[in-house]
Symmetry: C2
Subunit: 221 residues, 2 copies
């Protein structure tokens, strides 16, 4: 498989974790979202993904999947082991709820295109955008902190779709200096989960397209 990815994109980070957990080897196609107005807006990429976003996953037969959540569900349906979701339908919904709080209510509000648009349309400055991101992270994390078990991972003793979404969102939260002190369960799950090889290898600082000045041989856990 071939993953169209940007080192810092948290949606791509999710799919990197998913591929690693399922032990699916893949090749990374870097798509730089910040260079020259975004390589993702170029025609050469739009033929791969008409939405012009990362990630996109090209299967071995050349067909392409879009949207990180759809890709993760596809991986789970086609490579069942280890499962991303529990077996019980109610427990599956609990895991998906936490994943969707991140995918729908936090991440979309903090992504690069949205911040650029707020800056251009409403004249927001960097401090205002940082507060904006912090606000949605705090709102979403408050709900997640009350929903997860957090004794080992978000739910139970195996990482699920909830952890696959949470860890990249915590990385983003630290970038925008969000206060994580009200969320001890989230912080503990993040620390434990990043120790797993599948998560560590997916970290933004160890990707083929990580700028050398940012790259670390091994992310701090």
């Amino acid at each position: 498989m071939e993953l169209y990815s940007f080192f810092r994109s948290s949606a791509a980070y999710r799919v990197r974790i998913g591929l690693n957990l399922k032990r699916i080897p893949y090749k990374t196609h870097p798509v730089n979202l910040t260079k020259n107005g975004g390589e993702n807006r170029k025609l050469t990429y739009l033929v791969v993904n008409p939405q012009g976003k990362v990630p996109a996953l090209a299967l071995d037969d050349g067909r392409v999947l879009l949207q990180s959540m759809a890709i993760l569900e596809y991986l789970d349906e086609t490579v069942p082991d280890p499962p991303f979701l529990p077996r019980d339908p109610f427990e599956r919904a609990q895991v998906r709820s936490v994943a969707n709080i991140i995918a729908c209510d936090i991440h979309p509000l903090n992504n690069l295109a949205v911040q650029n648009r707020i800056r251009a349309e409403f004249g927001a400055d960097e401090a205002g955008l940082e507060r904006w991101c912090q606000h949605w992270i705090a709102e979403g994390f408050r709900a997640i902190e009350s929903l997860i078990e957090g004794e080992v991972y978000c739910f139970g003793d195996q990482p699920t779709l909830a952890d696959i979404l949470l860890i990249p969102q915590v990385f983003n939260a630290r970038r925008v200096k969000a206060d994580l002190s009200p969320f001890p369960k989230i912080v503990a799950v993040d620390k434990r989960t990043r120790e797993l090889d599948a998560f560590a290898k997916a970290h933004p600082m160890v990707q083929p397209d990580t700028p050398p000045e940012l790259a670390s041989p091994r992310p701090k856990v």
Copy 2:
């Protein structure tokens, strides 16, 4: 089952469609998002849904599900007929991609809480907010128009999760006067799909909490 719903919420609209398609009877608990700073922020509702959002679905045993996408997947897993997703994993991913473009890349940017926040933080006026909504709708719909088949429904001749998400988003698009003329497939799918009883009965203008001055005996198709 009992659905915590607001007539105009497009996430609640999705779940109403889903329940109707599966022929699951349910009782509506209206939660007014606009009255007195939002009934959804009151403690009486936060004990139901700690995230303070609609929809929430209380099962017959009292357990509560959150997040419209997680609820729809739950309904599809527990009541298989009619299916919300095709059988083939790649086709399932295609349907979920379109659903997620709406759930992750359009709707979160246009919802009430987000518009309120942009107004408060960045001083946006109504015209600016309308342009903001129109922008994200146009971006997302452009991708969706190129991804769907649209000969009958979004994919194939049965409504799927893609249609369940699309129809409420088209309703929202019309509210903010988005230009739909570049999207003939979306407009045609919307028209055909709203003719189905399950969709017509879920329409915001025919809910128990629809304000009488807005209510229509039957939504225009």
